[in-house]
Structure formats: C-alpha cells, structure tokens
C-alpha cells in the first residue's frame, strides 16, 4: 500500500516552477527523508500532499485519495515548519480541539491528551496560553498535536527547528517510536544527521526536481556520510572537484 504518491506533479507560482514533474512514492510504514536546499520544493511537496495547494500538472494521492478529500487526511499528523499555533488558546484546549477533529472523544480524548502532554514534556504547561511559550516549547506543542491519536501518516516539516539539543533528541525518539509502531513518516529537513538517524529512505529535491531517491544504504557510498552524498548529488560535488578547487565545492 502507498501512503503518499506524487505522480508527475508540477507546481507553478506565476513564472516560477516550484516543482517540476516530481514522482515520489512513500510506501506505507516507510520513514522517508525529504532533503534539498532552500527553495528546492520540499515545502511545496508537503503542501500538495495535504491539499493546501493543487498541482499545476500531475496527480497527488494521500492514502489513496485526492488530498482535497477530508477522508484522505484521516489518521494524518502534520507538523509545519515553525508551527503557527493560535496564541490565545491554552495548550490543553488546543490539543482537545485537534483530538476531537481527529475523531477522538470523551475519556479516550482526555487520556490521549494526557499521554501526549507527558510524552512531549508539557504536562506542567497544559494550562498556559500558547502565545506565552518559547520557540522550543511551541515546537513541542506542535509535535503533541501532530502525534495525537497515533496517526498512521506523519508529515513533518523541519521537525527539529527551534529545539535545543535535548529537544532534538526527544523529537528523534518521538519520530522513531511512531515509525516503530507502524506509522509512515515523511520528514522534510535540513538536518541531515537527523534524517540519517530517523529515516531509511531519502528523496533529494533540487530546483523542483528529484535529484536522487532511494534507500539510504544505496545512495551513500562506502566511506561517505549522508552529507557527502547529499552534496555530491545536489552539486555534482566530488573529491576530485574539490581538489581542483571547483567553485561551490566544500571548503
């Protein structure tokens, strides 16, 4: 089964082509890292996946359906980059509404909220207004809402943004534990180390196109880190080019 599929998906914003005939398949239960430089089209791909924007060409299917269909988003957890949360709501009220919209109710809803507050270290902050929280705590609230109801598909845009080293380790644990219980995870990130630790497949976007995709083990050569492989695949950067002082090579 396929959790998410972009088939020849293109997206234009005026004259700018944000995505160009992208083919991307995320099988159910996979953990896929979506990598690429700024402006490569990672966030656009996630917006198409959630139905926030329509592709200019091609098709997008989320859980086998058009993402514009609300049923496609059942069992989907979404963490946007720098999550914009309603600042006047209290943390618990925010989670309660998200949980209710995710289909939870009654004691199951309250129990799930307690579990996510405890998991993300927000139990003491439950009654605080979202607007009073620091950037790192906001990211934790974002994670708590995304993880509500054990979603079967988890879409995360820069999930470790704004987190301190302890927070980054916690976020990694949450992602890994969601993946272990069977959730499909798609992580868009600049943090190559985190992607390396949490994902088994990567898709590298460059200038709106898929520059490379596949299992981590297949993309990373012997003796290479993911960062080396990423630079090689995006820039065509090689040790030989670096030795020759080619522009754009690593220092």
């Amino acid at each position: 089964m396929i959790a998410l599929e972009l088939a020849g998906a293109s997206k234009r914003y005026g004259a700018r082509r944000a995505l160009d005939r992208v083919n991307l398949v995320v099988p159910r239960g996979a953990a896929v890292g979506l990598l690429g430089p700024n402006g490569a089209g990672k966030s656009t791909a996630l917006r198409l996946a959630l139905g926030f924007a329509r592709p200019s060409a091609g098709q997008v299917r989320l859980r086998g359906r058009d993402p514009a269909d609300p049923a496609a988003r059942e069992g989907v957890g979404w963490l946007p980059e720098r999550p914009a949360l309603p600042s006047r709501m209290r943390v618990r009220d925010l989670l309660r509404l998200h949980g209710a919209l995710a289909g939870l109710a009654g004691e199951a809803l309250e129990g799930e909220i307690d579990a996510r507050l405890a998991q993300t270290g927000l139990r003491e902050r439950a009654r605080e207004r979202v607007g009073a929280l620091s950037k790192g705590l906001l990211q934790r609230v974002g994670f708590a809402q995304a993880l509500l109801g054990d979603p079967e598909v988890l879409l995360l845009d820069e999930p470790t943004s704004g987190l301190d080293p302890l927070g980054i380790r916690d976020a990694r644990d949450w992602i890994q534990s969601a993946h272990r219980r069977g959730a499909t995870v798609l992580v868009s990130s600049h943090q190559l180390t985190e992607v390396e630790r949490t994902c088994d497949h990567v898709v590298i976007l460059h200038e709106g196109r898929v520059a490379a995709s596949g299992a981590l083990a297949d993309l990373v050569r012997a003796g290479e880190s993911l960062e080396d492989a990423y630079v090689r695949l995006v820039r065509g950067d090689t040790p030989e080019r670096r030795a020759a002082g080619a522009p754009g090579g690593a220092p």
Binding site: R47, F52, P70, R73, W78, L101, A102, G103
Partner: protein, 265 residues
C-alpha cells in the same frame, strides 16, 4: 468525523476566538453604546413646537422610534461586517489555518464554521441590543413589539450577507481596503435603498445596486412599517424579504466557494 461534528467544533472555537480577540470587546462596547444612545434619545421629555404648533407626541414617536431602531440596527450590521473581515483572513495570515485543514476537515466546513462563529457573536450582540431597544421604545412610545422582532430577524439576515461578503473579500484584498470597501458598500446600499423609498430614482451602477443589490435598508423599513404607520404592499414586502434571503444564501455560497478555491501558502 462527520461534517456536522467538525462544523460544530470549529464554529464553537470561532466564537471563543472572537471573544478572546479585540473584536469581541469592540462588539460589547458598541452594543453598550447603542443601548445608551437609544436610552438617551428616547428619554428626552421635550415639547417640540414647529411653526407655532406643538407636535403630537404620538406622531413624534412614529418617526423617532423607527429612526433610533434603524440607526442602531444598521450600525450593528456594519459592525458585523467589520468583525467578519478578520475571521477568515487572520488564520490564513498567521498560518494557523493549515493546522486545522490538515485534519479531516473540508474547506467548505471550515469557512462556514468561521462564518457561523462570527455571525453568532455579532448576531447575539445585535439581537440583545435590538430586543432591549424594542422594549424601551415600546414602553416610552407605546409601540408594538412585533415590528421590533421582525426587524431583529432582518438584522440577522443583513448581518449574514455583509459578514459573508466581507469574509470573501478579505480572502483577496488587504485588510484596510476590505474594511473600507465593506463600510462604503453598506453605506451605498443603505443610501440607495432609503432614497428609493422616498421616491429618488437612480441610473447606472447606483440604480443597479438599488434594484439588484442586497435590500439591507429596504427590508428593515418594511419590517418597521407598522411603527411608521405605512401600509406596506404585502407582495412587495415579500419580494424584498425573498431578495434578502437570496442574497444571504448567495453570500454564504460565495465565501464557501472562494475559500475552497484558495491556495494556501
């Protein structure tokens, strides 16, 4: 997740959101000011003379009662439009809309829930003010309750029209421009409606606005006609109320369709 449940949850949150924001406070202040206005203006005990003749207090009440009620109702309609300018535009601007729409919630459900929340808040404030105003006018001018209640229903329909159009405009226009256009549009509609009732004829786009636009003022005048002592043509009144209903339905459909087609960044 049924659409109805999602609608209910989001509409309730929209009401709470408006109450937490400055819009709720502004509406509360506007409501109190309206009541003070009606109380002070209807509490005047002066004897008015014109051309050496003392005006009949009953004749005065036929003018002053509906004028006070109408001014308050139309001010509250404009206030409802101003509140609605932010209801859909703000969550889009600050990005919070994406979290709600990542849930199994349809665009139309979300837009209608936000509209319902806004209209509930301004509607409750308006109906309370108009009910108290009706009670004051009934006691002081011995006017019937009926027209006041029909007027409150017309106010609700007006508020739906203006709120929905304001929300739809706010999806495409900057906030200040939307506010300006909503206020201008409501004033023009009222001006053409009221001027037409006293016999003025318009051509061009003003004529089109009077003939085909939302009968915000005309419907209110028909509702209050028993207070003024006018014998309204029943068929004409029904046609005006039907046109207001069509505008309300059309405006709701407009905001739903506009939001459905909107691309979120």
């Amino acid at each position: 997740m049924s659409r109805l449940r999602a609608f209910r949850l989001l509409a309730a949150e929209a009401v709470r959101d408006s109450l937490r924001s400055r819009a709720g406070l502004a509406l509360g202040v506007a409501a109190v000011l309206c009541l003070l206005f009606v109380d002070r203006c209807s509490g005047v005990g002066a004897v008015i003379q014109h051309g050496g003749r003392t005006l009949d207090p009953a004749a005065l009440s036929q003018v002053l009662g509906p004028v006070l009620y109408g001014l308050v109702a139309l001010f509250l309609v404009a206030a409802a439009g101003l509140v609605a300018c932010d209801v859909l535009a703000r969550p889009i601007e600050d990005g919070t809309v994406s979290l709600w729409l990542a849930r199994p919630v349809g665009r139309v459900t979300y837009a209608l829930a936000r509209l319902a929340g806004a209209v509930t808040l301004s509607g409750v404030a308006g109906v309370v003010v108009l009910a108290v105003a009706t009670a004051l006018l009934a006691r002081r001018y011995e006017l019937d309750f009926g027209p006041g209640l029909v007027g409150a229903a017309v106010f609700l329909a007006d508020a739906v029209v203006v709120s929905a159009v304001a929300m739809a405009a706010s999806l495409f226009l900057p906030r200040l421009l939307t506010l300006f256009l909503v206020v201008t549009w409501v004033q023009l509609a009222l001006f053409t409606n009221l001027a037409h009732m006293v016999g003025a004829m318009f051509g061009g786009w003003l004529g089109a606005l009077e003939r085909w636009g939302p009968p915000l003022g005309t419907a209110l005048l028909f509702a209050l006609s028993p207070w003024v002592g006018l014998e309204a043509d029943r068929e004409q009144a029904l046609a005006v109320f039907a046109r207001l209903g069509v505008w309300a339905a059309g405006a709701v459909a407009l905001v739903a369709l506009a939001f459905r087609r909107l691309e979120l960044r």
